[in-house]
Symmetry: D2
Subunit: 280 residues, 4 copies
């Protein structure tokens, strides 16, 4: 990991891990923070129903994807920039933080004005121009690992954000590409403790994209917590089979509620904070 | 998974999962069973010291590798067949079950006469002649996944054992080969719940070979339990740096003891049996 | 390949393959076209020396990378947009076509005004906003395969360009990421005939990035021609060891001259056009 | 490649490459030798028809697989050891050398008594007991690369054969496992020149298993020759669709004849011997 020398992402022995605080929601060391929401916002009703349900179950941050990068130009591409109104509504109606994916610098200003956290998706992990622009907003950034990136490359992509003065970066492991095809991707669970050795930044896991199968999401989520992750980003949809995209990997609300209960129990054993506050 | 139709390994809806009982040590549904020991037995002293320590900490089965398949013909190849005497000694001095790797049919009879459980290593997962011969001993068999095998191929390899009438097969995920090189292999943690969907056989995880780094073994072990594994096979060595092979992935005895305590706590939350009995 | 139905990239039985003509340089069916040049332009002198040498040896298109996307933010990032003046000079001093990489929409207009062919690099294969913007310039586009893209994903990325009305797309195989690490990437040579079955677009190979070792570039180049590629993009540098980037994979000018001679001989046997015209 | 130091497989600067001579059929430096035959021998008629056809077209060695290792225990497993009679018949009726796969030490003596060349398949590349036993027969051995083996591991497996005093080893690249699934495996074409840098042993390519698609076999074969391979092992079947196994990757006899003509033409340009002698 020679290229990590002299970077701001790397962990130095005596250093404390980064703890990000956004309006009193903590992400990092000692906390376990759950981000949940549908793959893409599809309608006002879907957004509100899902947001209230996940908030109720203990999620602190809502996944608000207005744009949906799709492999084919002919599949559903998301709500688009008009969805900014939806973010305002969600802020009015819930106490959730809102996070949203930025696909290009064109919409960056508008998205940064309303969202609490910006996300750079795995397809854009190597889009260095975008990384620098997102970094300059000084908003917290969730950076998803590209499906073929080594950990060193992942950290160097994060360094593009830190290099412009923004150190509020949350790393998200979301599965890598291998020959195995029962799952959509292979969740590289050991990326979590490995990143914890290499960097001071918080590390979360996306159990939905990494599995591609809703039946495996609970196991992936618990494994992520046990491996030391600081949180999860989970796709939740009230009626996954009617989802416009990625329905086969979204869990429904009762499954999410059950999972949160299990995570709270395991989190208590592991000494995680934030989650337990849900119970009180 | 078309090729799994008509196999004996596949799970049929109403079916109970296989629970293997070897001298009152249970492996499978509801239990969590820890196998531990050095990568290869190197001396009588090493074997006894390690065996007593892991038994004391709650392991039920001792890893007794007499043969060590090595990539290079010029590196340490293990104790050899004379080690059978060592197995007798371990049986006399501890209550541990003994498991050992079978590399060729030549030593099968001798090994089966003393070991409680036979192991087929990942390099031999596709050695169908060996699988059938091992199956015919009617001993329980730990089958390790080849580092490039799909889940379907892994299950079809197990089917070679079941096809000769032996259904006491324990599947072991031990990491697959990917581009990531911080870890020796990539632990495919979701193979655990995926296999649980596909087969009734017990599934354990080898956190040592899958990581190749002792510092990651505890996280990998907890993640495996949280993902639903029925047990672990962990490399433990009293002085890992002096190990003849794979020292960098073996944990020492205090680390093993601490890990067992953590696993018992998490196992209690998850309702696992056997481990809790260690405490009483 | 279900998602290729109804796309413009897919090959329909009776259809002729696309032949792209840029100022009488042909790319596609029946021709074999060589693009050569340094990894990144470093100076006026380097650019002119290399351009004249590769033109002399039979290359038709010059690789003019003004921007160099780099994994680390602290390594050489290329000449930058001022290099446009260099493109003008190269147009004045040689008969080569000029191709250049576009990293973001910010520089697109300036680059499209001077370059003959635009390139979207492998890191940006999934940058759909960029693909559409580049497509709208109506310039020929070289699209490099992402190192973890399936052929179907590669073709669907190309479809983003065709979907905005630009069908002058040249696909470039440049190596995929695997566990093998003697080479920088694994050249997926059979992507060439496989793509030829699936699409009517021209397919070229980058033997430099796929190998990462200059000693393997000649073998990779000949293999690409024998496998049916329509051309090559080769990194050539007068003094590779002094290159600011990727020197270990660039070949020097005498090696390039020798390679061109060999390709012409093999091309004659295979009935390739353009190359033989070099001899006359 | 530190582990290759002190091995017999590695190439030392001034050393000549190994040239294997079996009854005046040469394999190695300067020659290009074609092995052809059906995936598995299915009947006397199939064997004789195919053998005579491929001999006529210029093949020097016949692929005679009596055993067929199969992923599932319930698919066709090959002719079995009785097929030795078939080898005798083929020796009587043709001038072809015969090569055959050895699956276990049980049949080694019988197979070695009749076959001219023994083959260790990719599934057994790490079966070190088998490698040593095969090596001791002192017959030439074709060793196929395991689908997840690095080049260093491949060479160290070959070293097991050389370490018992047999240096007549022919390395066979047959595709590695990657995420790409249009082809059955990914032909690692650059393994050919890379191995040529690392070892003095001959290197051949199996274009059938590496592609899994008969339509890609000719392109793969020509690419292998252009990349510097010393030969090919090609699956040929008079009626591929009626083949008991792997029919989708076998080419028919007219396709083989056409391919041989193309290879002879390209081989003449590249200065290959043996092939041209077919024409005279």
């Amino acid at each position: 990991m020679k290229r990590l020398q002299e970077t701001k992402v790397r962990k130095i022995n005596s250093e404390r891990n980064t703890l990000i605080n956004v309006n009193d929601v903590h992400i990092g060391e000692g906390y376990f923070t759950v981000i949940a929401g549908p793959c893409a916002l599809e309608s006002e009703e879907l957004a509100l129903t899902t947001a209230k349900a996940v908030e109720n179950a203990g999620a602190k941050i809502f996944r608000c994807s207005l744009f949906k990068p799709r492999t084919s130009p002919y599949t559903y591409q998301g709500f688009g920039i008009d969805g900014i109104e939806l973010l305002k509504l969600l802020h009015a109606e819930t106490n959730l933080l809102l996070e949203t994916e930025v696909l290009s610098t064109d919409h960056l200003e508008a998205l940064a004005s309303e969202a609490d956290i910006l996300r750079v998706g795995s397809r854009n992990m190597d889009n260095y121009e975008l990384l620098k622009a997102v970094g300059k907003t000084n908003k917290p950034v969730i950076l998803k690992r590209n499906m073929s990136a080594t950990l060193e490359e992942f950290l160097l992509a994060a360094e593009y954000i830190l290099s412009v003065g923004n150190d509020k970066v949350i790393l998200c492991e979301r599965g890598i590409r291998t020959f195995e095809n029962y799952t959509r991707n292979t969740l590289d669970i050991l990326a979590v403790p490995a990143l914890k050795e290499l960097t001071h930044l918080p590390v979360i896991v996306d159990p939905s994209h990494s599995t591609g199968r809703s039946s495996l999401v609970p196991a992936a989520s618990k494994a992520a917590m046990a491996a030391g992750a600081d949180g999860l980003m989970i796709e939740v949809h009230p009626d996954p089979l009617k989802s416009f995209s990625d329905g086969e990997q979204s869990i429904d609300i009762p499954t999410f509620e059950k999972l949160m209960k299990d995570l709270i129990e395991i989190g208590n054993v592991l000494g995680k904070k934030s989650l337990s506050t849900v119970l009180s």
